[in-house]
């Protein structure tokens, strides 16, 4: 019964609040061949679209998790309901992360089909980038209760990767283009910490 209720929440959310984000994420992936070659690339060249372009879907899918209740009146109504609002947000986030992973997986398989030299590392690297970009947006949007600030923070982080480059060290997103991979572990850990921190902080603030 509980799982049925949760499934209904997810279905309703996808239908009413997240469909547009999924459409935008699919569009981002569909336009990528305009910018990049996807066929017959070696592992370094294949990392270009997977590190620079595909991870943008993380911003599109994860940043707006708190958007439906950004309006204070709606938030008050939602908080008064039986199902904990945080659980709804965790479900949304989980679904967004799964969708991002599926989309990136499909993209990597398509590149493989086009004779590009892609491996599971490319998938993990691209997913790690999407996850950290999304987590930064999720954190700032969640703590400021303003999704525009979330988008701004993740775009600033993305932009810094072009300007500061390798000076970002473990937070550098485009490491696979330079043959590295170690940074990805750090990105996955930091993104997870940011998400846990955001959810905990919101719960503490709400309980006061």
């Amino acid at each position: 019964m509980v799982s049925g209720c949760l499934a209904r929440i997810v279905y309703s959310d996808v239908k009413h609040n997240f469909l547009i984000h999924y459409i935008v994420a699919v569009c981002v992936l569909l336009v990528s061949p305009v910018f990049f070659s996807l066929s017959m690339l070696d592992s370094v060249l294949a990392a270009q679209p997977l590190e620079v372009f595909v991870p943008l879907i993380g911003i599109v899918l994860m940043t707006p998790v708190f958007l439906p209740e950004q309006n204070d009146s709606i938030y008050d109504v939602v908080r008064s309901r039986k199902v904990d609002h945080n659980i709804v947000c965790i479900l949304r986030l989980l679904f967004s992360v799964i969708i991002a992973a599926v989309m990136i997986g499909a993209y990597v398989l398509f590149m493989k089909h086009c004779d590009s030299d892609v491996t599971i590392k490319h998938f993990i690297g691209s997913f790690a980038n999407a996850f950290i970009l999304g987590a930064v947006g999720f954190t700032f949007a969640g703590l400021s209760r303003n999704v525009i600030i979330g988008y701004m923070a993740s775009v600033i982080y993305y932009m810094l990767n072009f300007t500061l480059g390798t000076k970002l060290k473990y937070f550098y997103l485009f490491s696979m283009i330079h043959g590295g991979f170690e940074e990805k572990k750090c990105l996955l850990i930091v993104a997870s910490v940011l998400i846990i921190f955001t959810l905990t902080s919101r719960k503490i603030i709400d309980s006061r």
């Binding site: 910018f35 990049f36 070659s37 303003n146 701004m152 932009m159």
Partner: protein, 417 residues
């Protein structure tokens, strides 16, 4: 009164604080990181003095013809349509078209081209997961009857066939095929231009604008979108709609305060950069005004355009849509500017103007007319966008339009019960 109220509102917004932090970070890490040392005259006997662009039509036509023939033989054309690598392979019909153009460029027929191909050394290499055979074409003649105008027409057509972003794009020809290493004398001349023609500040003003322009082409949209969306969020719309003040005055005052507030940190950074130059080049003759006029003319259109787009799209759709539109524009602009070259390759409609060098003055002034047209064009575009934002605001105020909603009740994606 209204203006100062809006300015105060912006000053206290979190997006503005983030905006200031990013602009400062960008200019400090990039510009001040590069400008902290004085430029000294070149030393005789050096190995590398850099390169210069010499607009020599004979060199351009000859080098481009050889390059095109080489890529034609391999049927593998390397392009960077948006700053990223793309290897283009043409079908038979398109290859035949390129061959026709090569014949016109060189005055050679198909048989003679095949002879050149057969006499060229073949070297094999791997690019990606594919193995290629490339031809080391040493020399292809240029037809004596070919004019430079016809040559650029042909190159433009070839670039179209390749889908754009190739070395043969008309605006790239000079930079790609007429770049030659500088001699000691050239390097001295380049240095003298910095001191005498640029009066030092001109060169530093270009470098400052180059770095600041990247960030100012995107970040203002966040501040504008957040401010525009704030009325709806705080449920102040109805209250403001009922006031006597005209929509034009309301929107334009907000727009003016956004542009003013966002230019203030830029102006302060210009002042700091100027003081740094005064201390570094004390005793040298400097043009004081250019350090303020050039960055203002260069950067203000970026702030104005990103702010106007932020306001317009937020009024029409939502803040998220405004960010998406501006991000796509910024991303494409940045990549295309990088592909065209970072030394003054400014087109008439290039949104992000780049000149990432203290030298190369001549390359910048080669496109000066484009630059002036470009900046005035974006000022006009931004004002036009602000006027459209006024019209939409006025329609919403009169209850004739409620924006195109992407979320919630009445959204375009919500199925009606």
């Amino acid at each position: 009164m209204l203006f100062s109220k809006e300015c105060k509102k912006i000053l206290h917004s979190f997006t503005y604080i983030l905006y200031c932090a990013l602009v400062i970070l960008m200019v400090v890490s990039q510009y001040f990181g590069e400008s902290d040392g004085k430029v000294y005259p070149p030393v005789k006997g050096g190995d590398d003095y850099g390169y210069k662009i010499e607009e020599d039509h004979d060199i351009i036509m000859s080098s481009a013809t050889v390059a095109l023939t080489t890529e034609y033989f391999a049927n593998r054309y390397v392009c960077y349509p948006f700053g990223f690598y793309k290897a283009v392979h043409l079908n038979n019909k398109e290859q035949a078209e390129v061959e026709k153009y090569i014949s016109e460029l060189s005055g050679l027929d198909s048989k003679e081209l095949i002879d050149i191909k057969n006499n060229s050394n073949i070297y094999n290499y791997t690019d990606g997961t594919h193995y290629y055979s490339d031809y080391n074409v040493m020399d292809v003649p240029v037809s004596e009857t070919l004019t430079y105008e016809r040559f650029t027409e042909i190159m433009g057509d070839v670039d179209d066939i390749l889908g754009g972003g190739s070395d043969y794009a008309v605006e790239s020809l000079v930079v790609r095929f007429s770049r030659i290493p500088m001699t000691y004398e050239d390097a001295v001349e380049d240095y003298n231009e910095l001191i005498e023609d640029d009066k030092i500040t001109g060169a530093y003003a270009r470098l400052f604008s180059d770095y600041a322009g990247i960030v100012l082409a995107i970040v203002p949209v966040f501040v504008a979108a957040a401010l525009t969306a704030a009325d709806r969020r705080r449920k102040m719309n109805e209250l403001i709609y009922s006031r006597k003040t005209s929509s034009f005055r309301l929107v334009f005052t907000r727009y003016a305060s956004l542009v003013t507030m966002m230019f203030i940190p830029v102006f302060l950074l210009i002042v700091i950069a100027f003081v740094q130059l005064l201390s570094m080049y004390s005793g040298e003759k400097m043009d004081m005004s250019v350090m303020f006029t050039l960055p203002t003319f260069w950067l203000l259109p970026n702030i104005m355009t990103a702010s106007a787009i932020g306001m317009l799209v937020t009024e029409l759709f939502s803040g998220g849509a405004a960010i998406l539109v501006q991000f796509v524009w910024w991303f494409m602009g940045l990549m295309m500017a990088g592909t065209a070259g970072l030394d003054g390759m400014i087109g008439k409609y290039t949104f992000i103007c780049r000149h990432n060098s203290l030298g190369m003055r001549r390359a910048f002034f080669m496109n000066w007319d484009n630059f002036v047209f470009n900046r005035i064009f974006y000022i006009i575009i931004s004002l036009a966008a602000a006027v459209v934002a006024v019209l939409i605001y006025d329609m919403k105020r009169g209850g004739r339009f409620d924006g195109i909603r992407l979320f919630g009740k009445n959204s375009i994606f919500r199925r009606k019960a």
